[in-house]
């Protein structure tokens, strides 16, 4: 029988495929370096809703609908919705699930949620438990700020290590082998890694060891090497965490030179005042569902490893002086299935 699991990595026999994806982003993201790679760019962050939270739900819902339209599916044809976000009790996702009326499993992986959702979607399909799964993740700058940091009109100066939470949502429809053009061949589930960092305004350095840990586990479990991939893409390590992960991997004998990028560094340019870069579940979700997937479908990339990273602290834990535990989940996707 073929290997189903080695170490932290799941091997998908099919492999299950991604039928379609959709990325819905806010104005700042739509004006950044990846402009043109997203399906929908919204004109503002409130979208006529009563609260920032409802606006985030609306964007996430739209991402699902656009992905379904691209896959030629109705809402009722989706067997399970796997979704998560940054809000307390993942309320944005729960409200989307209420609208969509699909069986719902809520996930919390902070900014690693997109990879977590796609990985679990692949498990359900590959295991024969579902035919069509929708993986969804979103974040919103203002909902994150008012929950984790300060009210948006409060005048505070962000340090250079701070990241800007992306206002974005990404949805991916996962289905059986042959149904889509991109296959999910492996998923490496991360373990929680905590190297003693405490500053919630510097999540990059907190998450870097987790990213290194999962990437190393992936290569160890699969026997692959960096050259087997066109790109190894981390979620939102940004300008501080990304070089740290690169160096940590080098210490372990893994050289990712020339093929190591980060969604948080790709989403905004220097003029957009994002300091270290983008963060939020929506960052890796939108970059994966927009830019990476389109390139995979159109054949420009053959094999990509997405390593989404999450900082699992809460406002309470950091105020209590606790360190920040982090996790990184990886999915290996391959075009031409």
């Amino acid at each position: 029988m073929a290997t189903r699991r080695k170490g932290q990595t799941l091997f998908f026999a099919g492999p299950p495929t991604i039928l379609a994806t959709a990325a819905v982003v806010g104005p700042r993201e739509g004006a950044g370096p990846l402009a043109g790679w997203f399906d929908v760019v919204k004109p503002d962050r409130l979208l006529g809703q009563k609260s920032w939270e409802l606006a985030e739900s609306k964007m996430a819902e739209e991402a699902v609908d656009v992905a379904l339209a691209k896959a030629g599916l109705q809402r009722r044809e989706i067997d399970v919705l796997l979704a998560g976000d940054l809000l307390n009790q993942i309320i944005a996702s729960s409200f989307v699930a209420r609208s969509l009326d699909i069986p719902y499993v809520g996930l919390y992986g902070a900014c690693s949620t997109m990879a977590e959702a796609v990985a679990l979607g692949a498990v359900l399909v590959d295991g024969g438990y579902a035919d069509r799964v929708c993986a969804l993740s979103s974040s919103h700058h203002d909902t994150a700020e008012r929950q984790y940091r300060y009210p948006v009109e409060f005048g505070s100066q962000r340090p250079p290590t701070a990241q800007w939470t992306a206002t974005a949502a990404g949805a991916a429809v996962v289905g059986p082998p042959g149904a889509g053009r991109v296959g999910i061949t492996h998923a490496t589930l991360g373990r929680v890694v905590d190297w003693g960092r405490k500053d919630p305004f510097d999540m990059g350095s907190a998450m870097a060891p987790a990213a290194a840990d999962t990437i190393a586990a992936h290569f160890r479990d699969t026997g692959r090497s960096p050259e087997d991939y066109d790109l190894v893409v981390t979620g939102d390590l940004a300008a501080v965490g990304h070089p740290l992960t690169h160096d940590l991997l080098k210490e372990r004998g893994l050289d990712l030179e020339g093929r190591f990028v980060d969604c948080g560094r790709m989403l905004y340019d220097e003029t957009q005042d994002a300091h270290a870069g983008a963060s939020g579940c929506g960052c890796s979700a939108a970059v994966f569902c927009g830019y990476l997937m389109r390139n995979l479908v159109e054949g420009r990339f053959k094999r990509v490893l997405l390593v989404a990273t999450g900082a699992l602290h809460s406002p309470t834990s950091t105020q209590q002086g606790e360190t920040i535990p982090c996790v990184a989940h990886a999915i290996a996707v391959e075009g031409g299935s």
Partner: protein, 154 residues
């Protein structure tokens, strides 16, 4: 290693420090000086106008502060104060206009949670510590001074 030993975390802390971007100190200090100075200059104009109406200095500082608080709150309501603070840093936070901003901003933000439990409860989330510890420190100082000199202030 999921939870490494002290030696590893300390080594990593040094690695992070080597990679860490420095805050643009000169730019921040200049911004703080210019923005803080400008706000105080505006305050001086207000103070002068009040003195011109015949108020003695000791009585004029209170209405001056009040007017500056109103200004700070208005600029917060207009969505301008956070922009000023991006460049001014502590130059925007330290003057009393910053105090007003720290009260008006959560008030506006938590309106969605209602006037009582949102606005009312959260009005002092940021300014609270300043008031609490200012009162506590003032009590210690004034109490001490009373014991030492047995007299009133200057």
């Amino acid at each position: 290693m999921a939870r490494p030993d002290r030696a590893t975390t300390e080594k990593y802390a040094r690695m992070v420090a080597r990679h860490a971007p420095r805050p643009p100190l000169l730019r921040n200090v200049l911004g703080a000086f210019l923005v803080g100075g400008a706000i105080c200059a505006v305050g001086q104009l207000v103070l002068g106008l009040l003195l011109a109406r015949g108020l003695p200095l000791k009585e004029a500082t209170t209405p001056t502060s009040t007017i500056m608080i109103v200004l700070g709150a208005l600029l917060t309501g207009l969505g301008v104060y956070d922009e000023v603070s991006k460049r001014g840093g502590m130059g925007a936070a330290l003057p009393i206009t910053g105090f007003a901003n720290s009260i008006a901003a959560p008030a506006m933000e938590f309106r969605r949670e209602g006037l009582v439990l949102g606005v009312g409860a959260r009005l002092f989330t940021i300014a609270g510590p300043v008031i609490v510890f200012a009162v506590a420190a003032a009590l210690v100082v004034a109490g001490f001074r009373m014991l030492v000199t047995g007299g009133a202030g200057n």
